[in-house]
């Protein structure tokens, strides 16, 4: 009889009680997402984060794991979000040189773009009768997700919806940027890049880098500046306008 092989459900009960399951699930899903993304030649539609979210959400639904339980384990990954946000100072620092001589048009465009993002998304969602939680998720959705989620906590809306809307916005922006810029007659690479960085943060930025290095540099700058200014201005806007 001994050593006894534990029944499969005992192993299961043991595993689901430790953070390991949630951690492995999260990392494996992300890895799978990255593999699919590479396979499709980094097509924005095959976004690795969106794929990973789908995999994890499906998996915890199938194994009937409550979200709170999953998060308890995955919080170790979540914790690093703040550290990663601070580390964004490095790419922003490296991109600051691109500001030279163009700071005024870039700042004006950023403010106009940021205001448009909020007014259009929050406005449309409200007009079409979306509930309060959903409308709240639109405030910071054009800001890069790690900062957007910090802003969401400050303005007391759901960081989850904010993150999901931010990822979706990034994917849509990356797909649509070429047609929108052509239709608007915006030709200079730095202008096209900055626009996609402001509107569609990290996902738009990697799209911009894959098209043209100058577009990528300015997209990265647009994303960084929108992150910092958004974190300061969005809570003020919510306080005085909403």
């Amino acid at each position: 009889m001994s050593p006894q092989i534990p029944a499969i459900h005992e192993i299961w009960v043991y595993l689901s009680g430790s953070p390991l399951l949630a951690l492995v699930l999260t990392l494996a899903a992300y890895q799978a997402g990255l593999m699919v993304y590479e396979r499709f030649d980094r097509n924005p539609l095959a976004n690795p984060v969106a794929i990973a979210i789908l995999i994890v959400a499906t998996a915890i639904t199938v194994i009937d794991m409550p979200y709170a339980k999953y998060f308890e384990g995955a919080q170790f990954v979540h914790f690093l979000l703040g550290t990663a946000t601070v580390a964004l100072a490095v790419p922003i620092y490296k991109g600051l040189g691109a500001l030279r001589g163009r700071i005024l048009p870039l700042l004006a465009a950023l403010l106009a773009g940021g205001a448009t993002s909020i007014a259009s998304a929050v406005g449309i969602a409200k007009l079409m009768g979306a509930d309060k939680a959903i409308v709240g998720g639109f405030w910071a959705k054009s800001v890069t997700a790690p900062i957007a989620m910090g802003v969401a906590e400050r303005i007391e809306v759901s960081p989850t919806l904010t993150a999901v809307f931010a990822v979706t916005t990034g994917i849509l922006g990356a797909i649509l940027v070429r047609s929108v810029m052509n239709a608007a007659g915006v030709k200079a690479w730095w202008q096209r890049g900055f626009a996609v960085g402001v509107a569609a943060h990290g996902i738009g930025t990697s799209r911009a880098f894959s098209v043209h290095p100058e577009a990528g540099t300015y997209a990265s700058l647009g994303m960084g500046l929108h992150g910092v200014l958004g974190a300061v201005l969005i809570p003020l806007a919510v306080r005085y306008l909403a």
Binding site: T26, L27, Y30, V49, A52, I53, V56, A57, I60, Y67, Y70, F71, Q75, H78, L81, G82, T83, A84, T85, V86, A87, A89, V90, P91, I92, Y93, P105, A109, A121, V122, A125, G129, I134, S142, T144, A145, P146, I147, M149, G150, V151, T160, A163, F165, T169, L176, V177, V180, M181, V186, K187, A188, Q191, F194, A195, V198, A199, V228, V232, L236
Partner: protein, 114 residues
Amino acid sequence: MIAGLVQILVFQGLGEIVAKFFLPLIPGPVIGLVLLLAWLQVRGSVPASVDLVATAFAQNLGLLFIPAAVGVVMFWPSIRSHAVAVVAALLVSVVATMAVTGLVLRALAGDEPE
């Protein structure tokens, strides 16, 4: 690697303290970002160890918001019943934001190529 991580964590800690006591509306990590940025400006270069950690984070940033984003399962019924509004808001907004940002730049700076 560890030296870089320690420096970044110190700035995160400073940011959290400033946020807690002076600027409660701004997320602590963003204040940490600005402080680190200021320090890099003063220093004039990025320490290699900090660069290493920052690059590792930047390359896998997406991984870090999966745990929170998976919470979307709890909002699923609500999103489904407002699906049209959600899709319309996301789609119109991203197109409008890109167009406005691009057009303002073009209006102020012209079509000058680099």
